[in-house]
Symmetry: C3
């Protein structure tokens, strides 16, 4: 399966006039070798209950196959047809805002048996029909599946049973969740109230975990259905997406990506990101690192932007830069959402490779160069393997808990994740993502732990042991504060990890005009300030790296590093400027022995590397700026793959604005 794929989502059903042959001809010209179809159009494929019409699927499969274009077929279950909702309005999710109403996608109760009955039927009909078609290489189940906040009576009933199954007794629940507070105690299972009104953050967070479990179960159910038909060589994937802040920002709150990815053959994602003067590549790297980590393997970018919105339509060169950045993170496929721009309804301004006029345009023309290069370099670039020594530990549980207990200025978990991740990206430290439950910590030299606010004892003890055995950890503030049901630990903070960190604190305040003082940090005054949160730390055995420059808090530590066993634990007790946390991370990277010549380069020069199937080292050098930059090749001689030119060690290399080079090392 390891070859480079260049694709688009293709909706024959949406076309304003017959376009199939002409579209395929243009795709071939562009180097498109895979299309993704069928996931959005249930009402077309089943126009009435039990009446099926797959003609648009059939004809697309046949035509694509004739043209040598492969097809990924989606199960069309994430948008329900009008007749289903008219017959059974209760297929729509009841949420905290009340009953649903028809119109948007992703509004159903994914536990509703009426929905599941019809979903199963259309899946079986569609997949059984297409599975032996030679164009079909794989399947996507549903799309960007989430739980859509489903919380109606039936879901509440399931939750009560889940709670009894998990905790056994109400006494335990009352005690662990703190239900005595404000008379929320439940003394009989029949009294269990709906969670939609709860003010109990522990209960709310447990319900969110339960809801994420619904997604895991739903996807596993779909995969099992599809697997009944899957042929040898075909794969099943899912289009995972990220916390959406107008673009793919961070860890997905509503889905446990690691658990949900389990039954799939390969992970898929969509990644959308700022562009034009705001293009940094960070989200491509973040989303790619996450997708690659889910199954610890290569992944598919099932959707990313071609033109998309007015603020995202790329400058010349950016589309190429973006495509190869995906490859550099380990993607084996880059597909655009979508081929053509939709002429009405809703996502009319989420433009595809083609504008509404279907004519070649500058973005399309640039795509042709990408298709050409993907084809030429597929052998050298597909199946890139990473051996990262740094991991970032992320947690749905910490994220949800911090939604309940927000930072004073409204920042959330993902702000802390990105605050740390982005600095690693800028200093060209590549990393994997792991969950707190991950057992093989010692395959990493450094683990970065942003705001691990809620975690069970065992996971924190494992981190202590990891340090003792020689690992290096950087924690941010708020790590270790509560247990897995978001109950604050009753010992001095940061609780269990105090042992490895060699510190303690019991007070925390909101910063007001607080700089940090240090002989170490090489940070100018404009970048030296604390924001959002500061813990008043006392060191027991740790070295104080930075302390607060403040009349009342001058004796407290802000950032510490403790040697514990064979490793070190660094603790950052406050939110700082990017430059400041970057400086701390830099010193930790050095401490962990991971500083190399690639770190002498930094953003806007981004370096990504890996090993191809021929066990050759491939290095990408990207220029994320609109000015030309240059650098010296400090590695062994090799070949620049785009130009085919030989490059010597020590040779000075130039990058065009938004340009890049790919160096294949001589072995």
């Amino acid at each position: 399966m390891s070859k480079l794929r260049y694709g688009v989502a293709y909706y024959d059903e949406y076309m304003p006039y017959e376009r199939l042959n002409e579209d395929i001809a243009m795709m071939k010209e562009t180097g498109i070798n895979v299309v993704r179809i069928a996931e959005s159009t249930w009402s077309t494929h089943e126009p009435q209950n039990g009446v099926f019409d797959f003609s648009s699927v059939d004809r697309v499969l046949d035509a694509m196959h004739a043209a040598g274009i492969e097809v990924i077929v989606g199960t069309p279950t994430y948008a329900v047809p009008t007749w289903l909702v008219k017959e059974h309005p209760d297929v729509l999710a009841v949420t905290a805002k009340g009953p649903g109403r028809y119109g948007a996608r992703q509004i159903m109760d994914i536990t509703n048996p009426v929905y599941l009955f019809h979903a199963e039927r259309i899946i079986r009909k569609l997949i059984s029909r297409v599975c032996k078609h030679p164009a079909v290489i794989g399947y996507q189940t549903d799309n960007e599946t989430k739980h859509y906040d489903t919380a109606g009576d039936n879901v509440q009933l399931q939750f009560v049973k889940y709670m009894r199954e998990k905790y056994d007794s109400l006494d335990i629940i009352n005690s662990r969740f703190g239900l005595d507070y404000w008379s929320n105690r439940i003394n009989s299972w029949e009294d269990f109230p709906s969670i939609v009104g709860t003010i109990n953050g522990s209960l709310g967070a447990e319900f969110a975990r339960f809801q994420r479990g619904l997604v895991t179960n739903f996807l596993a159910w779909q995969v099992a259905l599809v697997n009944e038909y899957k042929q040898p060589g075909q794969f099943v994937t899912q289009n995972f997406d990220f916390e959406w802040r107008g673009y793919s920002f961070g860890v997905q709150p509503s889905v446990d990506h690691f658990a949900a990815a389990e039954p799939f053959d390969i992970a898929g994602v969509d990644i959308y990101h700022p562009s034009q003067h705001e293009l940094t590549g960070t989200e491509i790297s973040f989303g790619g690192d996450m997708a690659r980590s889910l199954k610890r393997s290569n992944y598919l970018v099932l959707e990313t932007q071609a033109q998309a919105f007015p603020q995202w339509t790329p400058y010349p060169g950016q589309l190429r830069l973006q495509a190869f950045s995906h490859l550099a993170s380990g993607a084996d496929m880059v597909a655009y959402w979508h081929w053509h721009s939709i002429h009405n309804s809703f996502e009319t301004y989420w433009k595809g490779l083609l504008s509404h006029d279907f004519k070649p345009n500058p973005v399309y023309n640039e795509a042709k160069t990408i298709g050409r290069d993907f084809q030429a370099l597929s052998n050298q670039l597909a199946g890139l393997r990473k051996d990262n020594k740094v991991a970032v530990m992320v947690s749905n549980e910490a994220l949800t808990a911090m939604e309940w207990f927000k930072l004073p200025d409204g920042k959330t978990y993902n702000n802390v994740v990105r605050w740390m991740y982005d600095e690693l990206y800028r200093m060209n430290i590549e990393c994997d993502f792991i969950q707190p439950s991950y057992k093989e910590l010692n395959q990493y030299s450094l683990i970065v732990v942003p705001a691990l606010y809620a975690a069970p004892d065992a996971d924190l003890e494992r981190l202590n042991a990891y340090v003792k055995q020689g690992g290096h950890v950087v924690y941010s503030f708020k790590s270790g504060f509560t247990d897995e049901v978001v109950k604050v630990r009753t010992v001095e903070q940061p609780g269990i990890i105090s042992e490895a960190c060699g510190i303690g604190y019991s007070l925390f305040v909101s910063p007001h005009e607080v700089p940090l003082k240090s002989a170490h940090a090489d940070i100018g005054a404009e970048d030296n300030h604390v924001e959002t949160w500061m813990e008043l730390i006392t060191s027991t055995t740790a070295e104080v790296l930075l302390s607060y420059d403040h009349p009342a808090y001058g004796d407290y530590a802000a950032v510490t590093r403790n040697r514990y066993g064979l490793g070190t634990a660094t603790y950052i007790g406050c939110m700082t400027s990017s430059a400041m946390v970057g400086s701390v991370l830099k010193s930790t990277v050095k401490e962990a022995g991971l500083w190399s010549s690639d770190q002498e380069l930094s953003f806007p020069i981004i370096v990504k590397k890996g090993t191809n199937r021929a066990q050759q080292t491939v290095r990408y050098y990207f220029n994320y700026s609109n000015a030309a930059v240059s650098f010296t090749n400090i590695h062994v001689e090799g070949t620049e793959l785009l130009s085919g030119r030989e490059v010597n060690k020590g040779e000075k290399l130039s990058l065009e604005p938004w340009g890049f080079l790919i160096l294949l090392e001589k072995q």
Copy 2:
């Protein structure tokens, strides 16, 4: 009917104590010669179902008649009585927000038969009673009628029938509205979902058009009822209002003013506007141009502000300036909302001519001078006719469509309309408003077309033909983009009008630090920037007036002008500063041969002209500033009507702060 009327809304029912004779005495002193009554007080006139009490109407009519004050009687249907809602709660409109609740006005379902039955009865009772009263000169139906977002089950049912009637088949609907998208396809009429949840902009826009049709029908029904009683010489009018942004801002989204105005004898409007240091007269001009265009005749200002809110209470001189500005736009009546200030309930701070103490006050005293001058100058000023050579083309359909597909920074259709209209106003170019369906385009030399985002082919082709035959058009960005069901055209943009404009584009982006470059525009750097939207235009035959000063977009045109047949089509592909669009409009006005000496004056000196019934040219010169200004009379000699003074050609004339002159040309 052509005489100047000076009026107030008068609510005998709201008076805290017996005031009628005293109020009339004060009105006479002010020169008030018309009052508007009865439109708000159904519950007073019908205290219980079928029990009627019109004593307050009777006594006001008698007393006004005795004093020689004319009366316009309103049908009291825009605010329903308590007993009606208690008996039939379903008279309240069900909207996307759920069922209505009693309290405010304008909350009923205007299609509800229970409401219509009772409305018809009170209308017949009231109008039959008053129609032969000698005080009554006309009627107002309802007030500021809109559809109040009515969208309950009965309305949805009507909409389905409307759709079948209009489009005949679901196949056509599915195709034209793009319902395959996100599985919204409707394959059986029974499956038609409620539109309140739709994400389909085409369907949503069609529903809005249907809702506007409900208003047209409702008003026509009322007019037909009233016409049964209307006596010779009496008129029926409607109080139309505008998009409300804390004041009368732009085209009314919920009503097709042109269609709704059809059955009326004369158009009426309310116009409210910023005042004090923010008074510019723009809204008086905008609202007046619209009202005059509805029936292409003079109109009534049924409501405008006397004191109104703290921020609107006029500076000395402003009330006079405002009153005569209405006349200068073609109003034959200026009436205040309202006579006295209300002592409790809701609009307590929307003060009338009198404060709550009913005593003379500075605003009232200034009104007395207006009443005096209206009376003195009625013969010369009433029935002013315009022969404007410039029209602004506006469209409810484009407005609604742009609500669905908002500009990236949240600006809407009316922002674009005002961006262009305001510059015409400032350069003293008077204009009419027309709809895209208007056939007699060639009566204009220049048509300004802001953001005509949705329009049928025929209307755009008519514009092409108009240019070919010698007309001049200025389009803003986004014009021509979609058809009448908001489906994006499948050809190169701007679609049909590309032919006349001599341009094409398929990409558009959000500006970020983009100035324009041009040898032509006389605009300083501070006014040279693009905002909101920019289209990347390629000229085919057009002259490029301005292009983008940007590394990636420097080759694209921003503003073009194309000679096509005997005329020109100017296309403004981006939003600019006011000064910049003003500069483009100025050059187009010159191109159209409309630049005259009046354009040598500009805001704050505002010039309005027309022909009175004696076929004399009347010119108003307004000073919209708090500094004295002067100008030279470049027209033939005439009489200044306020002072009676003769004015020579070439004479220098002065305007006091917030002052004005009226020159009657010698014939």
Copy 3:
């Protein structure tokens, strides 16, 4: 009862593990001599309908008694148990937002008989059980009781009956409330609509008054129940709270504190306030003055902050400063909410004296010095009496009315109250709060009346008479504008008080760049501007202190003072800077003969004085800043109580940052 109490709220039920003995040992170490228990935990005390378990109460009472710590027992009725809501969902208040849902506290309909039945039973069970326990010194009914916007059908029915009882006829109601407006007239009692949708401010305000009456009734009902069990020497109190703007800001909108306080033995309050660099002491003074005024006696601070939120955790010294500031206002008890920090649920970050780790911490350590000093100085400081000559007149009715008729920039009644109160505080003028209905006005030399927007004639006439007899009044703008049903007076403004003020106005505007002109005011240009509101005042007999510096409004007065009978009435017709209103108040204080040497000191030096039970004068000098300050003792010699040091007249005294001194005058 007059001794100093130092307390905490204590929740044995919330403890994560057995802590009672250890907690009590730490309390003893801190000097805690009273705890408040039981008000939040109904579901623990009655785990099922009719099943009671007071074991946590019993054991806490026994243990506290053994340790010599007194206990205040709360009735646990402000948070309802799960089983009650499951059995009877209608115990939850139906509000304008719809039906309630379980989760939060304070969500019930306090008029619902199901709720009342169960509340009465648990109150009787609990109070009968504990009343003879020797640890119990008193009771708190419910907690921060309000009406929770209850407005369901049953409440609407009660309101109709209330209206008939109060106003007798619909004719009167229609007339006084202005219901003719917008057809809101009610012509039959059966037609009375629900008030949740009303747009009639008079009706809305009356409903709010009715709702406040529900609170008064509910609390009186609880007090009567508790009184059946109350033993000699025990008291019943209520924890009143203030308008909440993230802290205790102003007059409570939902409760008539004066009426509600009637049946209680002693008033209690909670006071939360900004801290750290934003600590000014103003809210401590404001809340204390209000609490002391309710029963014109000493009061209990039942809750105030220990650590609380990150932005409130006190700097060193601030906890002491705060505690003694409460005493200086007349508190006899200072209790923290709460002892320990809660480990989960909702108020996890509203930290107590102890952090989540239960260990001593800097705040706890500072509390120990407070406990020590309270004990040492109880005899000299408890039962402090005030004899204030200044009163601030506040009104729930004015507050509600101004919610309906907001100031143009969104400021509300409490903004005006605080604008005036804060300046009195800063110039060390101590004051009481009185309501407009208060009869004994002549016990004050000066009455400050902020925005008394709604008031009956009699109350305003009483103020006129007060001035005539030698009193001094300062009114702010908007005073006297409407009557008790928020109907604007029909005479020249400010209506009835015009007589004493010697002014009139009928116009008011929004200021735009308006300074004031005066020979008098000693205010720099940066503080000289009008905001929010300005009345265009004409003096009849008043002296014009300040007038508007504006081309259109230059002839109008802004601030006036009128000699009327033996006193003066000062009228401030606009909102000014703090410095400007401070200057006006200063001149009024002098006019009233109240300027003394203590006013030569001003914020950040705050002086509070009173008479202790030994009839000695006690003076507190607080430094509300982080810089040391000094001042001269201009009073007779005395003893500084904290140090025991003798202080002479004329001696210079120093205050540490956030420090204070207490001088006991020699008699």
